[in-house]
Amino acid sequence: MFLTSNPQLNKNGELHHLLSIEGLPGEILRQILDTAESFVGVTRREVKKVPLLRGKAIFNLFFEPSTRTRTTFEIAAKRLSADVINLAINVSSQSKGESVLDTVANLAAMQADMFIVRHSQSGAPHLIARHVSEDIHVVNAGDGRHAHPTQGLLDMFTIRHYKQDFRQLKVAIVGDILHSRVARSQIHALTTLGVPEVRVIGPKTLLPTNVDNMGVHVYHDMAKGLKDVDVVMMLRLQNERMHGSFLPSPQEFFKFYGLTAEKLALAKPDAIVLHPGPMNRGVEIDSTVADGSQSVILPQVTFGIAIRMAVMSILAGN
């Protein structure tokens, strides 16, 4: 989509907005992961705060509801000493007919330094990034089916934390790939960081038609797809994005694609299990796995704060 000029980078090739992992060089991804590593130490201290973004105004613009992502961005911004303003826009100006760009222009006039944007429409953060003045940074906190780069990055951080070297891994992404912005960000991040084998597993109706162009191996059968993998990345079944008959029923989905202890036993014995949350227990993942010893789902949430601190501080400094 943006092959010639990447709107995320400034003229020095540094990260100015974080809109999508697609098109970002591995060097920038590794810089974010390394910086997050140092922030993990900060969040373990007595005072879990650094003065880096003191006096900066960061606006959480959530045009689509979210609790976890908004909260972790808010915590991250506060730990960087920024001022955070939360706006749930579906219930304010949008319902009065104001356009997205008018909303953003008004907030920019209130001296915003950074916008964290969640929107149900793919491309909304790009649109905002193109129209803000060049001293404002935009972070995509999830847009439609397109991308959720900070989730992809925190997943990479989690994998690196437990598995160290990306170049030795087999990774499976399981479930509703079609509707998942998380899956797209994960696939781009994994391939950019050098994972040699990325698999996607799901029913034909929940896989995008062009998925094999993304450099992944496609499986429709869990028994084959999970064999000997090091990392299992589960996705949430997105009922709210399904308008049509993609699935017979959630029970049917669980039978074939739900992660149970029996299915997980096909992966390597030390395989880790990730899930971006919120989980549908008994639909895509069984509770014995979600709460089991191979699950790293709660560490993902903790690492998410450090990743968002890293992204915000790198952007603000560029």
């Binding site: 007595e46 005072v47 003065p51 790198i314 603000a316």
Partner: protein, 165 residues
């Protein structure tokens, strides 16, 4: 530019150890500022036979030039393996110049707790202070027209070099 050669870092380390000996207790905490100060803290820690392990600090998240320079590429995690609250501390750095790094380090330290005292040890003091900060232990005072940095070779030997930035 100065034509005078830089002093031998190993001799300065020995001089610094002599100045600090007798002024530290076994539970004094040494904290080296990444990177040169951390190498120096490691050497001082061994020579002074302190009980508590030494800590390291990367002050990047506390620097006052973030607005102009942004974040450096690689920020090392700060690691303070002892309780700061109520402890006698010595900050260790390779080169003392404007004092801004030391200010950042003190700000960071107070986010770990309230030390009973902080003193400063520096291998060289090259003047040029922009803040009211002084070192209690100095290897040597030098005049240098440009930045000086500490280097460490594969054998762990320290040396001083003029740096280009």
């Amino acid at each position: 530019m100065t034509a005078r050669p830089l002093p031998d870092a190993e001799q300065l380390v020995a001089a610094l150890i002599e100045k600090m000996r007798g002024n530290v207790a076994p539970d004094t905490g040494l904290i080296g500022i990444v990177t040169g100060g951390a190498w120096l803290a490691e050497r001082l820690h061994t020579a002074l036979k302190l009980d508590v392990p030494f800590g390291t600090l990367d002050v990047s998240f506390y620097r006052d030039d973030f607005q102009h320079k942004g974040l450096k590429r690689k920020v090392a995690p700060s690691d303070i393996p002892f309780e700061v609250e109520g402890r006698d501390l010595i900050l260790v750095d390779d080169v003392l110049y404007t004092g801004r790094t030391i200010r950042a380090a003190m700000n960071e330290l107070f986010d770990y707790g309230r030390p009973s005292r902080i003193r400063l040890a520096s291998l060289v003091d090259r003047g040029g202070r922009e803040l009211p900060i002084a070192a209690q232990f100095v290897g040597a005072t030098i005049e240098a027209g440009q930045s000086v940095e500490l280097k460490r070779d594969a054998q762990g030997r320290l040396s001083l070099a003029l740096s280009t930035d």
